[in-house]
């Protein structure tokens, strides 16, 4: 729970999931109660994400957070979105829109239109301002290759 709470705090979310279930280091809420007793459950209900080095939010959680108006967001075009989902950072000049309050050192969602494609930290790297990629939905492809 600690890493999940820290992630939600860092990203600026007011979301407090109730009844968080832990299965193999993955966190779920709104668990499903099967109509018969079935062992060896590996996934249930609303998937929040998993603990690795830091908490990695699920794409389901990211889409939910994208609805919160108080969370900082940067918007990118298609080309930049693709670079982001293959793991690259977003250079400041490639950001086509920002919500108020995106500040250096702060966390923000990376948005392609109305859809969240990951999140990062707005920081300075080699004298350039970037959104440092901390997680992106290209992870689905990386998982398929594992």
């Amino acid at each position: 729970m600690r890493l999940l709470r820290r992630f939600l705090r860092d990203i600026g979310s007011s979301y407090v999931p109730d009844e968080v279930v832990n299965i193999n280091n993955k966190r779920f809420t709104s668990p499903i109660d099967p109509p018969i007793n079935i062992p060896q459950q590996i996934y249930t209900g609303y998937y929040l994400g998993q603990n690795r080095r830091r908490f990695e939010p699920s794409s389901i959680l990211l889409q939910r957070l994208a609805q919160e108006s108080s969370i900082h967001k940067v918007y990118v075009d298609r080309d930049t979105a693709w670079l982001f989902v293959v793991g690259k950072d977003v250079f400041d000049e490639n950001i086509i829109g920002k919500t108020d309050g995106v500040r250096l050192g702060g966390y923000c969602l990376v948005m392609y239109g109305d859809d969240c494609i990951g999140y990062g930290r707005y920081e300075t790297s080699l004298d350039r301002r970037v959104v440092k990629n901390l997680y992106d939905i290209g992870d689905f492809l990386r998982r398929e290759q594992e």
């Binding site: 079935i38 062992p39 996934y43 939905i137 398929e144």
Partner: protein
Amino acid sequence: MSGREWFIERYHAMGSTLTGNETTSQAIRVNPHKVTDTELVQTLTEQGVQLEKIPFLDHGYKVKSSPFSLGATIEYLLGFYSLQETASQYPMQVLAPTSSDLVLDMASAPGGKTTQASAYMQNKGTIVAIDVNRERLYATENNVERCGVTNASIHHIDALDLPEKPGFTKVLLDAPCSGNYVTDPNWFNKRAQQDIIRNVEQQKRLLAKACALLKPGGTLVYSTCSLEPEENELNIQWLLDNYTIELAPLSGPGSPALKEINNTILHEQVAYCRRFWPEQTGSQGFFVARVVKK
């Protein structure tokens, strides 16, 4: 007995005119959780993808051409669509689960039909998705997450180990089977009659389990991607002979199932099932039955 000629001769004896060289186009299924058909078709068309609606599917499109891999686009990663072969989109459409159903997907990996069920159920009700193969269940987990499914419980378990309690209103058994040559160019070299016999025994065990898990009045959809009558019509005949079930008529794609096999006349309801001959449907070979537990 095996080999290309043996199989093709067998299919011709069943009334098919297939050549053994049939192929199928890639197909996608739009995820209505995330996007409308119109929106997705417009987005992909703008990027040079040519799509054609598959008339008998609710959200299925044939990919006529694409300048890039459709398994690696932003829209795919956002869960706007799944790659799912034409015929394999049909069983869940036949099961048509609703938001009040308790659904069991008995051989769920890699999860395409599980996500399709959730779309029909508008992410409500309950889906229990199981599979015996842990490696393939990773794909189920990924697909369920990618498509925004929140009404599923996934379990790594052999369906035959499930407790025999009638808890489900709808069951999909897309059974492990011999497959067919359309999606596997080496199929004719790999398959022999012994494989079919082995699969039939497993399919009967799974069918029996599916009946035990289904509530009275509930619906089981049984499907295979096999063209072999032992895995299809004869399994359904066996089910009619041994369980208090009846078959519900299916209309739509494919042909009525075979009525007679090796001079044996089958129960008239067996013809309610649908058989997909590749040369007629432009899809892989397939078989679908809708079974209602009395």
